[in-house]
Symmetry: D2
Subunit: 347 residues, 4 copies
């Protein structure tokens, strides 16, 4: 069986990364890539790296373009997928939405953070949150999968075993997260320019980042109670990669290393490293992997109550396009690792 795939909004970094992964997927045939702005342009003219790999040109984003697709990926800015999803589903295709349109279950909460009215509240209810390590079974049967955000992927995978265990104080979680610049998208923006962003480091959006409610939703579900979370994102002068440094106060001592190893022992894309490890982001560069290490650093003379979790992903792969393909593999009954098992590119 060949899965006929379409991509809506293929000119951003998640779109072109999807292309990179899908052209290597033996079960996928790329049918259409849409872009309102670039309709008519050959994909390989815009991304010379794809010369010889993608023959398609961008097409106008309309129903016609996507006709016959078995799966449609939305790699669009927030607010687009919710307006077009209904028609795509009605045409018989399934959807993996890489934008944020279907990630937050509560309508009011979504509208507060994304500052627009949601165009498809009924689909919001139907959508399955595509964190495979949590919702694998629902994803298999889903028509519409909301692919998680990049920070939420790293932070949730890092915290999950802890909050599920009930062994830490879930009211005071801290996620100090650092992202490469590609996480901000393929944009002409002064703050993202090389001259501004290189040889520099800063926090941003400290008063509130849209991934905060998404992470809290996931952790609350895992904890089966409301959680408190301080989430501080930082911009790092690298292209790809997220490093989440997570802090939780231990309330009950357990063997945390064993807890994590057990939680993820069957997960093909979560790697719990040996005690004492310091995962670096390049160890997952261009790969669909989350690596995790646990630490109990010195704290005071009398105690060391804080557990520190280090979690790294490639924001464009496990944090976006790779996870989208992982979801597609699940939705279509393929081996979950199909076309996702390349080692990282190091150095």
């Amino acid at each position: 069986m060949v899965i006929k795939a379409g991509i809506v909004g293929g000119t951003g970094y998640t779109g072109v990364e999807l292309l990179r992964l899908l052209v290597q997927h033996p079960d996928v045939e790329l049918r259409a890539i849409t872009s309102r702005k670039e309709a008519g342009t050959a994909v390989a003219a815009m991304f010379p790296g794809l010369r010889g790999h993608v023959e398609l040109a961008f097409t106008e984003p309309n129903a016609q373009a996507l006709r016959g697709c078995d799966v449609v990926f939305f790699a669009t800015p927030n607010g687009v997928a919710m307006g077009e999803a209904r028609a795509v589903l009605d045409a018989g295709a399934r959807i993996v939405d890489l934008s944020a349109d279907f990630r937050i279950r509560e309508l009011a909460e979504w509208e507060r953070w994304y500052k627009m009215k949601h165009a498809a509240p009924e689909l919001l209810r139907e959508a399955v949150y595509g964190l495979c390590e949590v919702n694998r079974e629902q994803i298999r049967g889903a028509r519409l999968v909301a692919n998680p955000g990049c920070y939420p992927t790293a932070v949730q995978l890092g915290f999950l075993p802890l909050v599920e265990s009930g062994a830490v104080d879930v009211e005071h979680l801290i996620a100090d997260a650092k992202s490469g610049v590609s996480g901000a998208g393929r944009k002409a923006e002064l703050a993202l320019s090389f001259s501004e962003a290189s040889d520099n480091f800063a926090a941003y959006n400290v008063p509130g980042h849209r991934h905060w409610p998404e992470i809290r939703q996931g952790l609350a579900q895992a904890a089966k109670r409301e959680v408190g979370l301080v989430f501080i994102p930082h911009l790092t002068p690298m292209i790809r990669g997220i490093h989440a440094t997570l802090y939780a106060r231990v309330t009950r001592e357990v063997d945390f290393q064993a807890l994590y190893e057990k939680r993820y022992e069957r997960e093909p894309f979560v790697d719990v490293m040996p005690p004492g490890s310091h995962p670096d982001t390049r160890s997952v560069r261009a790969a669909n992997v989350c690596r995790i290490a646990l630490h109990r650093p010195p704290e005071s003379a009398s105690k060391a109550q804080t557990l520190v979790v280090l979690a790294v992903i490639d924001n464009l792969v496990k944090g976006a396009a790779g996870q989208a393909v992982q979801n597609m593999n699940l939705m279509f009954g393929l081996p979950e690792t199909r076309a996702l098992d390349q080692p990282p590119v190091v150095p």
Copy 2:
């Protein structure tokens, strides 16, 4: 009056940064720069940027070389200054030690972390910790100043008003710190090579970093009680700069912005930024400044108990050579800002 200055160990980054600052200092005459390994080499042959600025050659590190100096800077690896300080003081010079030899007051604690026997315990008692914003008066009269470490400068300046105020839980402080690569020194080391360290991000020394006891000592003194501190350093792909993201749990609500502004209102080198700011490391690049901003990020539906402090410095300036010159200015009765008021280099 002209201050005759000598530098012991001038081939590392703190040494060459000292040179950059001292050649611009109108009251300083550079007398000698020693280096066992490079004795005989012209300084400008090793650092072409100093062609036309420094005529000296490196000399053997012995008492003869430093004769006649009013002040001697040690920019040496840990363990050197403690062996030579006595002779330098006896010859009538004062000392600013940029290494860690005299930073920790408790002998046993120092020896535990630095894994060697201290060669001059009596000087350890005499040494003044050179964080000007705390010990200004003692520094003026000091013969021997222990220049603070880079992380300790940023973290202490960031936390000081809080721990002095007693308005936060000092048993559970967290410092998530990120440093540029020059913080590791001028070294041929694989992990610091461009191919390994660029386009990458990782934590290091999580099980224990030598700056942890130094920071705790300073904060405990400010808090007038023992403190608990989790300190996690990270390596960032930039040359210069430290960004400390500090977390403290508020136990008593006060106007924290006012608290910081008041604490630092007379400090020439601490800049409390307006509420909502995100200081970036390049805003202090090559400048002797610490910039600080305060935040109360969202935490849970019901409360926001955590105060977040963002503090940035240039690790080689306010975190090393600049602070050393600031200390020298104080020790010799000069205006504290002399030769330290250049704006940062941006971009």
Copy 3:
């Protein structure tokens, strides 16, 4: 005497670099900085690095704003200075124009490359090309100085002794030049974004770059005949710096090292390095220096006819704002090096 200075268009990189240099200049008082777009904004609000150094706010760019200035720097996009220069001169101020408006002597040539009609042809004739190492005397008496472009500064200083000597084939000069990203200006442009420009290297504008006619004009004047020049610019993943690798075919053997040393022996800002040197761009970072080295690399078994010149500058200093201050110093009878003698920032 205090020189009252104004800057038109102070929001770009050359403008903010001018600010950095002028606030350290003991003879300059900054009177006004204009920006149509940012009028009313405090300069230090836009550039936090200037907090405590610049109290001014941006003002509307009109004659009123610049009244009373002794010198006005234009740090504007091409096409602005030529429209406003006349009024500024009539008000009694002198001008250093950092844009390209007055760099090309031939009107038709200028209009061909800059694709607009020149607004002040008579000033084009009056303007002095501000390469101090060539036109020092004319600059002293000039009202209007055209500050050279960044590439033209490096390439001309690198080639000058050669073409003046007549010892090379001036019909076949090659300049392979590499620039840091700040050379493109402070712009929101996709190609300049960190994610696109870092970890990458490419040539650009190979079919024709506007600095080509400017360089040829200068070299032709030095050679006293027309010259042939291939000029290939490249974008390099660094913030500041230009490295020009220059190729000339030797037609008459002379002692080229001596030739260069003699040509530049009284030049405070040109450093001819010892034979065998490889100048790196960071050795001039943030400094007003051009460093040059000469080589005769192997070529074939029988001969080595090609002379290779390596020349580096900081594009924002000797290639823009520093040279502008150097020109101002000359115009106002100050020592040429005033406020320009800081060592580079290394590392």
Copy 4:
């Protein structure tokens, strides 16, 4: 058929890149990876990115370790392969040597540049230079292939059609080449450290680089006469990538674009881009491709005689490990593109 492969010296960048490619190769079974220094260490402990991909540990480099291999890759420092090749061949394996030991045909020339006595002159005569686009047929039958150097690959592929055509002056070729830092190998070396090499640009080895005789040998063979070549390498602050800017003086006008397209029309890994293109190194990042573009830039008023060729490769793939696998594919009768057709990783 499964090819049993061994790697001698698997701890450098070419070694680990070989691992990355070979674990994805469906016809290869990795049998042994040797390293004297790391014998006993698990490969994945040294390169965490290979966790889950490589189960092997490094073994002592002896004949035993490589017994049963069909092919042995030498990813060793120069001087190792020549000493061990004979035994490997006698044991029945074929060799792809990624070091320089067998690249230069003339013994005296090799010994002059590599400053040692060659240990296997008779194999030097047997070895086939592994530039597939030139020696495809000989490679198929070869026992011992000398994999080309990184610069030589880019420069030869860029110049080949020109020198074969006889339409340019081959006595005065210029190759201005820029390499990412990984080209220098996985080394603890000060000049390669992040603090020294980032935000910086410089030429190196201008008086003579070992790739110069290798390139000249290849071009001379193509030109069927001796050639003159100036080759200037530069270090660029990026991890991977080579950009060669090539200059040749046209002596006979032909349609150069057509010439290149025809020369490479059947080459799977050479991409002649459309006229006017500026290939960037990231368009080949992690991919086994050389992209080439041609230009005729302005030169003087009367003529434009110089042809400029821009050629980019990934130094670790087409410039090392990828080309080695391409050679192996040829040697074992596999499709040449097997396991080498992944698109580049962009951004």
